[in-house]
């Protein structure tokens, strides 16, 4: 398959699940912001979950499909059309050569993931295909996509070939679809009054009593100064340390909530620096990082406090769901053969 970029809209990059093993050299982890959607999109086209996908931010992207392509789009709840017809999300679609795929109005969420059978064919740099813009490495020549870029896919897996073969019998205009979908992973469909579950951070006890309580009682708004590196939050109360503190820089993680001197917390995300020196009041549970990453500037949410044990159990449960999706897809197409 080949896909030509007609318009990028706001921001489109190639991402996988991240670059690991080099954080000790200051190389960021990166990777998809909503890993659940990126993984599901890959599984839906018969790929391993870590293949390179397109991360499409908000609306305005238009892609031209040059050859018949098995693809899946997961993530934000938005109207995507192929050849002018609404293309359902969260399910594989065999899209006919010569079709334009347009990303339109966004009802909720802000990031979509497009996977193609075989995975996007970009080289691995330091063990990952994720774009690291500031380091100018990974993804598509180390940069965001622009108009006229042409992307190719690697050879599809046997499973992908079987899926494509099965779908080829059911063309209906510009694309062919199966009857099933995986929309139970569609986080962005449930973003009204979002609750983000979090554990207390390593410096939680050092904040004032009011700040500690305020973290879990007030609602926060996502600031416009937010990006893949981190989301700045604005609450009604500034968060303050009980007494001044000089900290030494040390490692941070995806979802670390740190509080600089101005009292407005920052939630570190995929493109975070490897280390940080601000006090850490909280840590978003891994399972809710994907939920959080679908929130847009201006949207509000609340933190809910959970324990380490609860966060671990939620993580294990979500991994079990992901394995079940993978197994279900494999079963469908091995049985169909």
């Amino acid at each position: 398959m080949t896909i030509k970029v007609v318009r990028t809209g706001l921001h489109v990059t190639v991402q996988d699940l991240g670059r690991f093993g080099f954080q000790k050299y200051g190389v960021i982890a990166g990777g998809a912001m909503d890993t659940g959607a990126a993984r599901a999109a890959n599984l839906l086209v018969g790929n391993a979950d870590n293949e390179a996908v397109l991360e499409i931010t908000l609306t305005g992207t238009e892609l031209f499909i040059e050859k018949d392509t098995l693809l899946a789009i997961c993530g934000a709840r938005m109207s995507v059309t192929a050849g002018g017809e609404l293309l359902p999300l969260w399910r594989p679609a065999l899209v006919r050569a010569g079709t334009s795929v347009k990303f339109g109005a966004c009802q909720s969420g802000c990031r979509s993931y497009l996977a193609v059978a075989g995975g996007l064919d970009v080289p691995e740099v330091l063990g990952s295909k994720s774009t690291y813009l500031r380091g100018a490495i990974g993804g598509f020549f180390g940069r965001a996509l622009k108009a006229d870029d042409v992307l190719a896919a690697k050879a599809p897996s046997l499973l992908s070939e079987r899926m494509e073969h099965a779908l080829r019998l059911g063309w209906n205009g510009s694309f062919a679809l199966p009857h099933w979908h995986a929309s139970h992973f569609a986080i962005a469909d449930n973003l009204a009054d979002p609750i983000i579950r979090a554990m207390t951070g390593t410096h939680y006890e050092l904040f004032t009593e009011a700040s500690r309580a305020g973290l879990f009682s007030q609602s926060f708004q996502i600031s416009v100064q937010s990006d893949r590196m981190g989301y700045r939050l604005e609450g009604t109360e500034k968060l303050k340390l009980a007494k001044p503190l000089e900290l030494l820089s040390e490692a941070v993680a995806n979802g670390t909530v740190q509080v600089p001197a101005d009292g407005d917390p920052i939630v570190l995300l995929a493109d975070r620096q490897t280390t940080g020196g601000y006090p850490r009041i909280a840590q978003v549970a891994s399972v809710d990082i994907a939920v959080f990453a679908q929130l847009k500037p201006g949207e509000r949410f609340r933190f809910e406090r959970i324990t380490q044990q609860e966060a671990e159990q939620l993580y294990l449960d979500s991994e079990r769901d992901m394995r079940m999706l993978k197994a279900a897809i494999a079963l469908k197409f091995n049985a169909a053969k």
């Binding site: 000790k24 200051g26 040390e250 490692a251 993580y315």
Partner: protein, 251 residues
């Protein structure tokens, strides 16, 4: 863990960094002794990683481990099955590394890396300010900066960016009130009592005293950084001409 208690001045803290990482804190202040323990422990994890370990990130006084909770849980030994949390299992595994031999041993042979620097001029626009701030001549600032031996305590902030220890306070200088929007790659700067090298072009507020033609971030290499935590660094003054020759690959 009697042995570790005697090896270290401060008690070891193990703190969860969310549900998939742990911070092992081995001290509370920046010093070479603590940093050596950090590097030795980090090396132990890398030489013999436990099941589920993804990567280690050493810093001034701590080692962080990013791990996969599912792989840790699946690999639990009989004795670990009673743990209430996966974090508890990780802590128990970390304990075994802490009890293996001397953490404060001088460790593997340290590398000393020489970094050529063209001081002053267009490459070091703030050299005069740093001199003035400290009542020194520019030549004295260069001599003091290039006369020191610096320890790479950690890498962070940007790929290949070293946090160096050991700068003389005689050339300390405050950051710029307003950071520059872009600082060229290779710029050598001073901020307070720290010195460092901008490994990629970024915004920043450090006082720029020179520039190196060496690339600190090397994405094409297996180890993508010129410097590694634990290395020693020495700055060597070079002329503008040598700087150019170096960039052209002729030096």
């Amino acid at each position: 863990m009697e042995k570790t208690a005697t090896e270290l001045q401060a008690p070891i803290e193990m703190l969860p960094l969310g549900d998939s990482a742990i911070i092992i804190r081995l001290g509370s202040s920046i010093d070479e002794e603590t940093n050596r323990i950090v590097m030795n422990l980090s090396r132990r994890f890398e030489e013999k990683p436990f099941a589920g370990l993804i990567e280690c990130v050493p810093s001034f006084v701590s080692v962080a481990i990013h791990y996969d909770p599912l792989l840790v849980k699946r690999s639990r030994a009989a004795a670990e099955l009673q743990h209430a949390t996966i974090f508890e299992t990780v802590c128990a595994r970390v304990q075994t590394y802490l009890s293996l031999g001397q953490l404060n041993a001088s460790g593997q042979a340290a590398r000393t890396i020489e970094i050529p620097v063209c001081y002053g001029g267009e490459h070091g626009p703030d050299l005069g300010l740093v001199a003035e701030h400290n009542g020194l001549t520019e030549e004295e600032v260069i001599a003091i900066h290039a006369g020191g031996i610096y320890l790479v305590h950690m890498l962070g902030f940007a790929p290949g960016f070293p946090y160096l220890g050991g700068m003389s306070e005689r050339i300390a200088a405050p950051r710029h009130q307003t950071p520059r929007t872009i600082i060229p790659q290779g710029s050598v700067g001073i901020a307070g009592k720290q010195t460092g090298v901008y490994s990629i072009a970024t915004p920043g507020g450090w006082q720029l005293i020179g520039r190196t033609p060496l690339a600190l971030f090397r994405p094409q290499d297996e180890i993508p950084s010129l410097l590694r935590p634990g290395d020693s660094v020495r700055f060597k003054p070079i002329t503008e001409r040598q700087y150019k020759l170096f960039l052209e690959g002729e030096l």
